[in-house]
Subunit: 255 residues, 2 copies
Amino acid sequence: MENPQEYTMKHRLAYYECDQSSHPSLSMLVAMGVLASERHADVLNCGRQAGLKYNGAWIILSYEGQLSQRQPVFGDEVVLGTSLVGVNRFFAQREFWLADATGFRFATMTGQLGFVDLSRRRIQAIPDELVVPFHAPKLKRLTRPRNQDPLSADVADGQSHYQVRYFDIDGNRHVNNVRYFDWMLDSMGADFLNAHQLRRFNISYKNEVRYPSRVTSRYQMTTDERGTVKSINQIFSHDQLSADAEFAWQKRTDK
Amino acid sequence: MENPQEYTMKHRLAYYECDQSSHPSLSMLVAMGVLASERHADVLNCGRQAGLKYNGAWIILSYEGQLSQRQPVFGDEVVLGTSLVGVNRFFAQREFWLADATGFRFATMTGQLGFVDLSRRRIQAIPDELVVPFHAPKLKRLTRPRNQDPLSADVADGQSHYQVRYFDIDGNRHVNNVRYFDWMLDSMGADFLNAHQLRRFNISYKNEVRYPSRVTSRYQMTTDERGTVKSINQIFSHDQLSADAEFAWQKRTDK
């Protein structure tokens, strides 16, 4: 590997990584980014197994991302890429992208990560062993997490309830972070989702959702003076805000 | 391709194709089989696009399968394989498998398929163009679909309700067939699923579930004289039996 900070892998899009638009779903876009980052760490021998030596694991604190209007369809060969942008004592920042063979980026995402002690469920200092091999620069600026007021049921434009399911839990024994996207988007309904394409998003994870429990997904929609549709989407678990996101939408022209 | 009846592809298991046991979930095992079969048809120029020329698409009528006790874990390189076992005027039979590089099969599945007219939603004769390139033999024997009595709520050992979600719908605009497995298994709960490993299954699809609607998943468990735990699992939509399955389980020894 020439630059240990960066990693790319070829990937052919499976139909089950795409939704009914034939393009990758948001949850799968992010999951494919995480897949690349896990393989990146494995190549440098500082992946999941190395983390467990410190009784720890990475957690995602927030993501933000942009999607191009042109998106790939299932069957396409794409490149999944990731770069460890920077690290400090407690946090790391990763970039993820999905590109075509010419380097055109269908999506670029940035994630803020922390490293938690798996017994005490608390952020702990990142062991040097897990980051030194990347030769990543010192992280100076942390993206500030979104801090939107919680949406109450009476101001929300819609809300739906979701039971957390067995298959929402991943190998870390947690609800996989991308499931929040599915709950958020599903609550907006097929008519909206079929007519709109996601162009920008950010999400901030506040409190872990546990299995088995029931979550509430609420959203509020606004259209600004230039006609851009935005939504604020929030997940609640036991009346506590679990995740807070903002999406920017564009009318679909691809069908 | 030496034998056009058969197709194999290398695949590296993504973490999101595996459940919390680190092994592929049943729904993903079947989805990976379908992935191989779609690429198989594409290679022979008789895939989805060719079907649309006849305003038709393949539908799955039933599956049956066996899983070995040893299962791969995420990150493993596996081989996805499929063979068009046979065809007649209205039906086709496909075998799917997941194997390691030595040919050891982690899972072998057989599926019965029909070809439907997309406007009239009825089985139609399979166009020659879609099957001749495989050089598959004439299908003589069709596996008879399971015909279990519907489980009523009072005889069931458990039942759960599931809202059909936007992301359950696939590129064919139907609830993806593998989602039924998730509803069936989820209803059995984490304690059972974490303690048991699936070894055999069959499923028969009776009536299509539509979006948006709510399904009921019911199961009944039995233990035979040799200690084998079996379950009958059924999905109901609007009080109609949508899918009927039987699973054979073994106590997990892999953790």
